[in-house]
């Protein structure tokens, strides 16, 4: 296999890796704030892309994207307020099942709204044949947009969690929810905020990669599983590791196409997931003790 081909696969892997990384980070934000694993994470990506396409018919692209992000954030808040808010100390397992149910309902609603059609936003710059030549590899400018978006998201989150009051409070919540509540941290609102944040970044990622990967009503579930794989691989709760893990999974998946029939591509990330769960559930960067304790 020529180096050029490998690099092409790498680039494809990085593109998809962006989404996986963002979904993984989204999982972690909610997990850190609430201990919940939100299976509906993948739906946020889908909603972002689909809403943007619809809005684009009415307003210019940047507004469409901004609008889509806002709408999805609202959906995130709605989910939290309707289903999550008034539960008392639910078990993680129960929450996974509930969020699976929620993701199904969102998916079906999307099916009703948009049908089965596959959509895509237009390329932000250029079109599907334009490409930049980087070191002999042909890279679509959209890939660069994706990576840039991912970087922006990561940078924004970093600033948010370190330098804003709300962000610091969320970290306190993650460390010890009861203690945070006792210190007057508005834990309930922060939970809503965590959903809103996750929804927002998921939607943005969905918009940015949709020209390349296309969007349709049913992509959420697969993304959720892959995002979960990423989150676990990096160690549940560890957002920086999730980004790295996202790219690792994306690239592995992409490279697998050279070995196995393309139809098995989706099974690759799941196999990675099972391998991690069986061998080292704490992920590459997590600590084994914590994973054992958490799983109880």
């Amino acid at each position: 296999m020529s180096t050029e081909l490998v690099l092409q696969y790498l680039v494809a892997g990085l593109t998809y890796g962006t989404i996986y990384a963002v979904v993984g980070v989204g999982f972690n934000i909610i997990y850190n704030a609430t201990g919940i694993i939100n299976f509906a994470q993948g739906e946020f990506v889908m909603l972002g892309g689909m809403t943007a396409v619809t809005l684009h018919g009415l307003v210019p692209l940047p507004l469409a994207i901004a609008g889509a992000v806002l709408v999805t954030m609202a959906v995130g808040a709605l989910i939290e307020v309707t289903f999550i808010r008034w539960l008392q100390r639910p078990s993680v397992l129960r929450m996974i099942i509930i969020t699976i149910g929620i993701s199904i309902m969102i998916r079906e609603a999307a099916l009703l709204l948009w049908g089965e059609s596959v959509r895509a936003l237009p390329y932000f710059t250029g079109n599907e044949v334009s490409s930049l030549s980087l070191g002999g590899v042909h890279v679509s400018p959209q890939v660069l947009w994706s990576l840039a978006a991912c970087l922006v998201i990561v940078a924004f989150l970093r600033v948010f969690f370190r330098h804003t009051a709300a962000g610091r409070q969320m970290r306190a919540c993650a460390a010890n929810r009861d203690a945070a509540a006792l210190c007057g941290v508005p834990t309930r609102n922060l939970v809503t905020l965590s959903f809103v944040l996750s929804a927002g970044i998921g939607a943005l990622a969905g918009c940015v990669v949709s020209p390349i990967t296309y969007t349709s009503y049913g992509i959420g579930a697969g993304l959720a599983i892959k995002g979960f794989t990423v989150a676990i691989l990096g160690g549940l709760g560890n957002s920086t590791a999730a980004v790295a893990a996202g790219f690792i999974v994306g690239v592995l998946e992409s490279l697998s196409v050279s070995l196995l029939p393309a139809a098995y591509k989706d099974a690759i990330s799941v196999t990675i997931l099972l391998a991690i769960l069986f061998v080292r559930p704490s992920g590459i960067f997590g600590s084994a003790e914590v994973a054992r304790l958490e799983a109880r």
Partner: protein, 359 residues
């Protein structure tokens, strides 16, 4: 057998007969088709009810076992080895009646596996896979177990969809009927509709009986003990790991049986039967029926599967099960052990009172 169980079985039998007669009187015999299919789906739900309600283990990928059973029998009974008749193994198998001739679509004669042999093979495969998956997966707890089973279901679906030899997106068709005794067979279209209906629900009754026995037995107690306080169960001599694994395998076997017979009844099977949507349905049905209640599961499965097959929910089919799942999980008490009717109503009432009390 306790009198109450005898009474329940009697009631069950009466209900089954009553429904059949009702459809006959109303001239709606065609409803029996969907009712029969519901029975086979109910077998899956029963196994899952044992796994989730008694052993306390969740499986979000159980539809995969249904599909494994169905595809195994579908493949084996539609394969054509006539061209290989000269070979030693094929010849030996034909002499042993494992391979039997059957008419193919073009008026010729194909050589395929006898449905009974295919059933045995399908069960063996499902059991083997369940052991292979179960050993590592059951060591995981809570949400890791859930995601692992979900992952397993996804892999099976991907493989089924992506493999040409397995029919890819179209699945397998032309599956012959499954011969029982005395001319009776599972499958075979309209003329055999009533007989098939009774066979299917008879199978459900049999499964119910076996599982009800199990639940009352020493093993059933051990399972409930594991679910109640696993360490204490171990200290009392219960090999928790082994019991959980066997329960998992048993539930997988039941699902596979459902898959085998539905495939013969429908004369086909497709990759949709393996997917997460189906698995979620089974979980929803078990959750609503009461995780510890075999009878509740049968009733819920019969109703919901039938309605779904009738198309009552239209395009919102998946959404309904999703919503059902969410509602049950929201309102049920935390330790989803045995959600009996009274407890459920009391829990809901308590929740509502508390929500009202909050300003």
């Amino acid at each position: 057998m306790p009198a109450s169980r005898l009474a329940r079985i009697g009631l069950f039998a009466a209900a089954v007969v009553a429904v059949q007669l009702a459809t006959q009187l109303a001239g709606k015999g065609f409803l029996l088709t969907q009712l029969t299919m519901s029975a086979y789906y109910t077998l899956v739900a029963l196994g899952l009810s044992l796994l989730m309600g008694y052993a306390g283990q969740i499986s979000l990928g159980h539809a995969a076992f249904f599909a494994i059973g169905g595809y195994a029998t579908g493949l084996l009974t539609t394969v054509d080895l006539a061209a290989r008749r000269g070979g030693g193994l094929v010849h030996a198998l034909e002499r042993a009646h494992v391979l039997v001739p059957r008419p193919d679509l073009y008026g010729g004669e194909a050589l395929s596996v006898h449905p009974w042999a295919a059933l045995a093979a399908a069960l063996a495969l499902a059991v083997a896979v369940a052991f292979a998956i179960g050993i590592p997966v059951l060591k995981l707890k809570g949400h890791y177990l859930a995601m692992a089973t979900l992952g397993f279901g996804t892999i099976v679906t991907s493989v089924l969809l992506g493999t040409e030899a397995l029919g890819a997106a179209d699945g397998i068709g032309g599956v012959p009927p499954f011969p029982l005794a005395g001319g009776l067979a599972v499958g075979g279209g309209r003329t055999a509709r009533i007989a098939n209906y009774y066979v299917a629900w008879g199978l459900v009754a049999l499964a119910l009986l076996l599982l009800a026995n199990l639940v009352e037995s020493r093993v059933g107690r051990a399972l409930r003990a594991i679910h109640g306080a696993e360490d204490a169960a171990r200290a009392m001599g219960v090999d928790a790991g082994r019991y959980k694994l066997r329960t998992f395998v048993l539930s997988a076997a039941l699902a596979a049986v459902g898959g085998v017979f539905l495939t013969h009844y429908d004369a086909s099977i497709g990759p949709g039967e393996a997917g997460i949507m189906k698995s979620v349905r089974y979980v929803a049905i078990v959750a609503v029926g009461g995780m510890g209640s075999l009878w509740g599961t049968v009733a819920t499965s019969a109703v919901l599967s039938f309605l779904s097959l009738r198309g009552t929910f239209g395009t919102l089919d998946d959404a309904v099960f999703g919503a059902v799942l969410v509602l049950v999980m929201l309102f049920s008490p935390e330790g989803i052990l045995r959600l009996d009717g009274r407890a459920a109503l009391a829990a809901i009432a308590g929740r509502l009172r508390r929500t009202e009390a909050r300003p």
